[in-house]
Symmetry: C2
Subunit: 438 residues, 2 copies
């Protein structure tokens, strides 16, 4: 038996606002950041569990405080007990009767729980000597269903239905695992499309993306209609007719405004319109979906939990579900969301980018292919070539695909040097930024 | 010209879990708490702005940290500028491009913004020498509309429609103000109905409530069906057929479960069923509303923002809208919600209780009567007789009614002695609790 002996928390920030990478209509100057935790145990194996919440700068200390509010829930606890019953562990964290008031199940506290849950999965996968996608893909349908809290989703997905989906996918697991290792999992890139880039840079990066093997790129839109028309045209001319071009409004519009705006971009053959309006607006998204058809609506990176995803599926609000590794309460809730998507026959194309989101979320898509939906049809994982060098096991993306990681763990672990260099505000990188501004 | 010279933040908690007051099916042992701020200026008038987020214990320090993340946004700012354009001030706080990631517009960060916004309103009302309800009721329709961010609600309520509602109510303002001062504003009480109380205590407190002039009481339900049937029957026998009995499930049920459960309570003539399921489940509430009709569905104390309220009104999810003074982003957003309710013809019966929620929310209902909906028909404010002695201007509730406060301010201000005695964890009250446990 071993116990959790330490929970160390870090406020890590990258001064990305000094450039224009990551700029969009709602987020003009993000400093990509992580509220980060390391779970240590007294076991002789020395394994640690790493997890994080991704933020874009100010307020990262609030997320760190929220992770701190959960520290006493796991410190000193029996590791085997927590890891053996990850479904029970999830409920124990999410249903704390006092902390629940801060959400419930949304925002700062829910993301903090996600970081802790993901750190425990990282630890569990390392102990098993497996990458997370492989660990999950080896669990039985019954074990997977036991991870899920069906509260508030049972009107759309019952435990029996979830079991049915997982059992139907069980026979083909081995074949699909082999295919995954051989074919990889398709990615698409947002690198060309940031709002701050000139048309020339957009065109050049779009061509490079195609040369790198990507079959879809994504452009930020929503600040100015005429600029958007010109930029989408520029991109279409650069990549030709065969490459998908998705656009992303980052919640900029009202429902009708989204429909009107997209009518102007529709002639350029748009792969999807992402985050057209508030992520809380299930009915608004449904109205937009009807109004922009046949262009698919995509959303999810800011969808707070499984309850809102459930309604978006019930209402026909989205055709592309973009789950995020660090927005909801971790791996468990994302498995519920994968199952909901499978039930409703909707494709999952995860949100990534930021810091570590690519490293983390690839495990979920690969697991989904092997053991849940059983398909990669129309599915791809977002990719931004940024900040991967800070991770112990950076993603392997080439030929337009993510290639399955083989290292044990969930992919969340940053280099120790990064944790100290980019520590905010006292790390050397921030000391230098501060000195250069004064 | 004056500037904001200090923003002091307090973590104040009351050890209410030592008794069973406040116990319900989801919140068995709350420690009623407030993440509290005081805004000071260098003006000679000495006025301060007080505001808070209500929480139920653990995690109150996370809310305090979130208020801290907003401190630099107002410290050193020109007070007159902030207070003259409260609509602009609201947007400035809510649309911070980095902090927005922590919500957006929900949970810990949104409630913290609400506390800051409410503290600024408290300051503005004190400077005007008026209670908040009176200050708001004297603003022109145009000034009131300028307070509102119509982003994400314009499909349900346009600025012109809001203006129309406010202008229609303008001629009767004086008469209704006179009526309010003469008649008060009806309250209802939750005091008899906590889950932890015995049947005898429930019966006795229910009779006392009627003797005190209340025409409605509320019971917590949802833990055990047979207990609920017995408790509702006990209450009905105690109060007779003329008194309203509402029930509150505190999010305990799935949609179908709510419908089935309520069928057993319906024979006792239920005034409303409150929070039957997740506050995020717009469509679930709509299904419940259809399934339990004609019993009205009530919800709102955990509804995160105007976007979710908008959808609940669009989908027919509720007949009783229970806004809360400290859940959304303060007075401005609550005015948007009052206008949405008026547009859809839904009655507003605010959530209160906790710490200071009664003191704060009464201003909104009184303003609504005078200047928005123009009616008190079927409307009442929740009342729990608890912790009012900690406020500088405690509510005046008697004869079953709230009586309009005459002191300047928004009602949020706690006594200085309370701020020090109940400071967590170092205040003397908590030192004593800690000593008694060890």
């Amino acid at each position: 038996m071993s116990v959790i002996s330490a929970v160390d928390i870090f406020d890590v920030r990258f001064p990305t606002s000094l450039e224009l990478d990551g700029s969009d209509a709602m987020n003009p100057d993000p400093d990509y950041s992580a509220a980060y935790l390391v779970i240590r145990t007294n076991a002789r194996d020395g394994h640690e569990g790493h997890g994080f919440v991704f933020t874009i700068g100010r307020g990262n200390e609030v997320e760190a405080a929220a992770i701190g509010a959960l520290r006493d829930h796991i410190l000193g606890r029996n590791v085997e007990e927590l890891l053996t019953d990850m479904g029970g562990t999830w409920k124990y964290l999410v249903h704390d009767s006092q902390l629940r008031w801060l959400g419930p199940e949304k925002g700062v506290i829910h993301m903090a729980i996600g970081a802790v849950v993901n750190a425990l999965w990282d630890l569990k996968a390392k102990r098993a000597g497996l990458p997370l996608w492989e660990l999950l893909s080896r669990m039985t349908p019954e074990e997977l269903v036991s991870l899920i809290d069906f509260r508030y989703i049972s009107d759309a997905l019952t435990p029996d239905e979830a079991l049915g989906i997982l059992r139907a996918a069980e026979p083909g697991r081995g074949d699909r695992r082999a295919r995954l290792l051989m074919e990889g999992y398709r990615g698409y890139t947002t690198t060309p499309g940031w709002l701050g880039y000139s048309d020339d840079k957009l065109s050049r990066l779009a061509k490079e993306a195609v040369a790198d093997g990507f079959t879809q790129i994504k452009l930020k839109v929503g600040a100015n209609l005429q600029d958007d028309i010109r930029r989408v045209r520029t991109a279409r001319e650069a990549v030709g007719p065969e490459i998908g071009i998705a656009v992303d409004a980052n919640q900029r519009w009202e429902a009708q405004e989204a429909i009107d705006w997209m009518a102007h971009l529709a002639p350029f053959d748009i792969a999807w319109i992402e985050e057209p309006t508030s992520p809380d607006d299930v009915l608004g998204h449904a109205a937009i979906a009807r109004g922009v058809a046949p262009i698919p609506v995509a959303t999810g990176e800011h969808v707070q939990n499984r309850v809102v995803f459930k309604q978006m599926l019930q209402a026909g609000s989205l055709e592309v579900l973009q789950l995020d590794a660090a927005r909801v309460a971790g791996v468990n809730e994302n498995i519920a969301i994968l199952l909901l998507a499978a039930k409703f026959g909707v494709r999952v194309c995860p949100h990534a980018g930021g810091v570590g989101l690519c490293e983390a979320v690839q495990h979920l898509s690969m697991f989904d292919f092997i053991a849940v939906s059983g398909t990669k049809e129309g599915r791809m994982i977002e990719f931004v070539d940024h900040l991967h060098e800070h991770f112990v096991t950076p993603v392997d993306v080439h030929s337009g695909c993510y290639w399955p990681p083989s290292s044990p763990g969930a992919g969340n672990e940053m280099l120790p040097q990064t944790l100290s260099d980019y520590s905010f505000p006292e790390g050397p990188v921030w000391a230098a930024v501060s000195a250069s501004k004064s």
